[in-house]
Amino acid sequence: MSDTGGNSFEPKIVAFLCRWCSYAGADLAGVSRLIYPPNVIPMRVNCSGRVDAGMVTEVLAKGADGVLIGGCHPGDCHYVNGNYKTRRRVQLLKAALEQAGVNPERVHLEWISASEGGKFQKTVEGFTTKLKELGPSPVGCDD
């Protein structure tokens, strides 16, 4: 797992973005021609509350090095409380990841509103840099 480390390693990131805030924020980043790393594969979901922990572990098992979950700011959820559920879920999932030997920073939750194209750009930049430091995901060993 260390042979692809260093600068040549390009992490694969799956981003689950809620359609009301974060996906619109990502859209704004694109429309505004903000430049961010191409490592991220955006997936639109109706609400960050729709992202269940099994979806995160599944994409990690299928080769993602990190998972970004974007939701509406607290109090702004289109479905009232989906983002609060996600927050608790991600916290438990991070504890599980850590115990299983996976750096919990591989899962990142961020509140990004529809007007925050810049925040989306900064988040993807920061997350990509972080994952380059962490190297390829250790999930899914073949031995």
Binding site: G54, G75, N81, R88, A100, D143
Partner: protein
């Protein structure tokens, strides 16, 4: 009518699955009348060399209990796959890795150094004793359920499988009416569906471990702050543990269509945690409740770690 040929094998298991077969009481006599047991290391003396001599597909049904932990487990799984027309993963360890799958949280070296800490030497695969060479099967890097190494025709969940399920399987075997391949012999629904407890829809404000409180026998255990894996676990046992006033620990594996049982339960608990109205004011209180869960993997993945993504993490 020719008699059926039945095999029972144990890999990495505790022996409880072999014993559980006898729970069917006198039905075991019907089985003995309908089938010859051609392999059962726990109860009868059959040599592996004899087994290799059997023609391929010669054994009608093999009940395989235990997980794949050593090279011997792996080789026998592959051999039995060839010799059996129907290979059945019997019990939690063969089905989802079982409680021993939690060993995947440690590397092989960590396991050995803990287990043989004060022993010298640590057993190796080949040892020289009095001029003779002794061989032990290789201890694999990771524990896996049966279907990670060979294709499996049927699954019988449970630790050990409950009497009703074993009985139904034996009846299907004796009558020759086996269901569609891939069938899990249990309910399609979760445990809550057959649990008699009353749901009061209370949010969880404090998490308890089973020894800390005496649970009300009528009310849902989750409502009382006990982590019961019922919502994420396949039914079929008649909610045996909740009926004994103990929370379900998830031995029957995930419900139909779900692959990650631990993640499913983690979602459930995250949704049930609540202190007053959700909002920024209570975030810290929510965190405090979540932090009460001492062993997240051991709680949510107790029987399913080896069959989940988190049970396949590369270790140094």
């Amino acid at each position: 009518m020719t008699k059926l040929k039945l095999g029972i094998y144990w890999a990495a298991s505790c022996g409880g699955c072999d014993v559980s077969l006898l729970e069917v009481d006198e039905q075991i006599l019907d089985l003995a009348a309908a089938a010859d047991i051609v392999l059962w290391p726990c109860a009868a003396d059959v040599k592996y060399d004899d087994l290799r001599e059997y023609p391929d597909g010669w054994i009608d049904l093999v009940l395989f209990n235990g997980a794949i932990r050593t090279q011997e487990n792996l080789e026998l799984a592959q051999l039995l796959r060839k010799k059996a027309r129907n290979l059945v993963a019997y019990g939690s360890c063969a089905h989802t890795g079982g409680v021993i799958g939690l060993a995947n949280l440690s590397s092989r070296e960590e396991i050995f150094s803990t287990l043989f800490k004060d022993h010298d030497p640590i057993p190796t695969e080949v040892s020289q004793v009095d001029g003779c060479s002794l061989e032990l099967p290789q201890f694999l890097n990771r524990l896996t359920p049966l279907d990670a190494v060979v294709s499996v025709d049927y699954y019988i969940p449970g630790c050990p499988p409950p009497r009703e399920i074993i009985s139904a399987v034996l009846e299907a075997v004796i009558s020759g009416k086996l269901p569609e391949k891939g069938t899990v012999f249990a309910s399609e629904k979760n445990l809550c569906d057959e649990c008699p407890r009353e749901r009061t829809e209370q949010p969880i404000t404090k998490i308890y471990r089973p020894h800390e409180i005496e649970a009300d026998p009528e009310i849902c255990l989750l409502d009382q702050g006990l982590i019961c894996l019922g919502p994420a676990t396949r039914g079929g046992c008649g909610a045996a543990c909740p009926n004994a006033n103990m929370p379900c620990t998830g031995c029957a594996g995930p419900t139909a269509g779900v692959t990650d049982q631990g993640a499913a339960m983690l979602n459930t608990i995250a949704s049930l945690i609540g202190v007053g109205e959700e909002g920024e004011a209570v975030l810290q209180d929510e965190d405090a409740i979540l932090q009460e869960i001492e062993d997240v993997i051991g709680t949510f993945y107790r029987f399913s770690l080896a069959s989940s993504a988190l049970g396949s993490v590369c270790r140094e």
